[in-house]
């Protein structure tokens, strides 16, 4: 396969982006205007003695120089905050969480990972299938009732804050109708197992996943639709039609195949938005995933945890982009030669 050069280039670019993300993350959390120790202890009713404060600074490595090189005095520092941060990050050591005393950031993170995977993963699959299908159908019969309907739906939900949609669904389906639980991952202390547990989890997942799917579905539809319209205007589609190919083969065999390519990378770029949406949606449904954890870290000023979460989100988007690029090279023969 001739696409190896392309794949290697994409991986190198992703690595460069990773370096940027790491550096960005490092400096982002060091531009805090206030004293980190005060921030770390603020609002916890903790009064630290002078000695304890110094100990904390040493524990956090904040006594070390920030960068490996300093100008005044000109010196190199083998032991510095940047190197330590990069080293710690690469070995998966994010230190202890302040919010959850006695647990490490990684431990806290892993507990919240599964619910978010379930929510974001499920919603992504749903919105991809529904959104792309509507986009294909809508673009193919532009101006049809399905198309204008989907267009209106997309514009409406695109303009809607997802946390608001979440609250309205909760008011209607939980408070008034009582069809769904008001939040959480599963019924607390219910001690269910097997199928009953799965049903319980699904029951809790339903409204959050609907919110996220409906909220971001429109973008998938719009991207697919416009990409398909672009392709339908291409000359080769006229050639295919001239050959007497049946219309649905023109659509699925030629137009969709070509239109999916640009859609893949656009969708990958949009993944960051879905992650962002998960933050507020999880907050409204008090769904114990990474989004809710982000809010908790924020409220308790646990910047260490926040930093880890932000790093994770950035890397997740980076990886989804890389995956899209690789998928692209797999599907598009033109990439293989270059």
């Amino acid at each position: 396969m001739g696409g190896r050069r392309y794949v290697i280039r994409k991986i190198m670019q992703a690595l460069a982006t990773l370096v940027f993300i790491l550096l960005f993350n490092f400096f982002l959390f060091r531009i805090m205007p206030s004293d980190p120790v005060k921030l770390l202890t603020k609002g916890k009713g903790v009064q630290l003695t002078q000695g304890a404060q110094e100990q904390l600074i040493i524990d956090l490595g904040l006594d070390k120089p920030v960068l490996p090189i300093s100008l005044r005095p000109l010196a190199l520092h083998a032991d510095n905050q940047l190197f330590q941060y990069v080293g710690d990050t690469l070995t998966g050591d994010f230190g202890p969480s302040l919010l959850f005393q006695g647990r490490s950031v990684v431990d806290v993170f892993l507990t919240a990972l599964w619910p978010t995977l379930l929510l974001v993963g499920g919603a992504t699959i749903l919105m991809t299938i529904i959104g792309l299908y509507l986009g294909i159908r809508g673009g193919w019969s532009r101006g049809s009732r399905l198309d204008t309907g989907s267009m209106g739906f997309s514009l409406l939900f695109y303009s809607m804050p997802d946390f608001w949609l979440a609250m309205m669904l909760l008011v209607l389906f939980s408070t008034y109708l009582g069809w769904f639980p008001s939040g959480g991952y599963s019924t607390p202390n219910a001690d269910l197992s097997g199928l009953a547990h799965i049903v319980d989890v699904m029951n809790h997942l339903f409204l959050p996943i609907v919110t996220l799917t409906v909220g971001y579905l429109g973008e998938y539809y719009l991207i697919m639709r416009s990409s398909l319209l672009d392709v339908l205007g291409e000359e080769y589609i006229t050639t295919v039609r001239a050959k007497g190919i049946r219309e649905d083969s023109v659509l699925w065999g030629h137009a969709v195949r070509n239109a999916l390519l640009p859609t893949i990378s656009q969708i990958a770029l949009g993944f960051g938005f879905i992650l962002g949406g998960a933050i507020t949606v999880e907050l409204v449904f008090s769904y114990p995933g990474l989004g809710l954890l982000t809010i908790q870290a924020l409220d308790s000023q646990d910047f260490r945890l926040l930093q880890g979460l932000f790093l994770f989100a950035s890397v997740a988007v980076l990886l989804s982009n890389l995956a899209a690029d690789l998928l692209y090279s797999w599907f598009d023969p033109r990439v293989k030669e270059a």
Partner: protein, 309 residues
């Protein structure tokens, strides 16, 4: 080879170039409006926009701001919509309608200011990258791609959490994290403008690069910038409401997002106070929708390829 004539440029009448340009602009403004007027979507969006802008500007005349002060209001708490309180009241007895009218000011202001910041940064970087090309282009586009990868909402949350909460900071946080899409779009448009023969001609006449960028490239990419900026306003309004809802808004100013935050925090969901939650949300949706519709209508005018479809 004898080839039939392809369309030539129209004959040039001896008039000062400035007069010609002015005339042309007047005609295109006229034509623009006559096309825009036909767009149902564009006109509907514009109508909603005008209503909200008037509401924001005339807020002091419509209702007194004392209705925002919890110590000075005397209404019943959590009352559903009634004649006295058309949109009901919140848990402190404030009229939700008052909150909405005053909140429109902050939501609109932050939306417009943040979109302006984003537009300026995005356009400058986009034109610079597209026009200069080479190393500058590569470097700027790398930076843009990196910013596109950073998850936007998470980035805003982190920045707002670190930098603090004031109107200026919220505007800067939203504006400085959302320019990447504009930069990309403006760059690709600039690339196509740069290829047009007139740029070469002006260059031959000895114009400096910065002059060409401002006098010749900018006017030609302006349509794209305008359509994108209007869309940015929509995004910025959504972003403001999200930040406020999370509790990262300016605590001293009433905005729609902040009203929603207070409603959520005080359990309006379990209390079933749908009016308190519903009204600010409907306003956000309408305002964002209005900007989105205007932007879509503009894009259809500026991008004839879309219009033909």
């Amino acid at each position: 080879m004898a080839t039939l004539a392809e369309p030539a440029s129209p004959p040039i009448t001896p008039r000062s170039p400035k007069a010609v340009a002015r005339e042309r602009r007047k005609i295109s403004r006229h034509r623009f409006w006559s096309i825009y007027r036909k767009s149902v979507m564009g006109m509907a969006g514009l109508a909603i926009l005008i209503v909200f802008v008037l509401m924001a500007l005339l807020a002091p005349l419509l209702v007194s701001s004392t209705g925002l002060d919890v110590t000075k209001v005397s209404g019943p708490a959590l009352s559903p919509p009634s004649w006295a309180y058309p949109l009901g009241t919140d848990n402190q007895g404030r009229s939700v309608l008052t909150l909405i009218i005053w909140g429109s000011r902050i939501s609109l202001l932050i939306g417009l200011l943040a979109a302006t910041v984003s537009m300026v940064v995005g356009s400058v970087l986009g034109i610079l990258a597209g026009y200069r090309g080479g190393m500058i282009d590569t470097a700027l586009m790398r930076l843009t791609d990196w910013f596109l990868v950073l998850p936007w909402v998470a980035l805003m949350i982190v920045l707002a959490a670190i930098l603090g909460q004031s109107l200026t900071i919220i505007v800067l946080v939203i504006g400085l994290t959302s320019w990447a899409w504009t930069a990309r779009l403006v760059r690709s448009q600039t690339l196509s403008v740069r290829e047009r023969p007139f740029v070469e001609r002006v260059k031959g006449l000895g114009s400096s690069d910065s002059r060409i960028m401002i006098r010749h490239v900018l006017p030609n990419v302006l349509p794209v910038i305008i359509a994108q900026t209007i869309l940015s306003v929509a995004l910025a309004i959504l972003a403001e409401s999200t930040l406020s809802f999370i509790g990262l808004g300016d605590p001293l100013r009433v905005s729609w997002g902040q009203t929603l935050e207070q409603a959520f925090d005080t359990g309006a969901v379990t209390l079933g106070a749908w009016w308190w939650i519903g009204a600010p949300g409907v306003c956000i949706v309408l305002l964002v929708l209005a900007f989105t519709m205007c932007s879509t209508a503009l894009e259809e005018i500026f991008n004839p390829r879309l219009r033909q479809r």
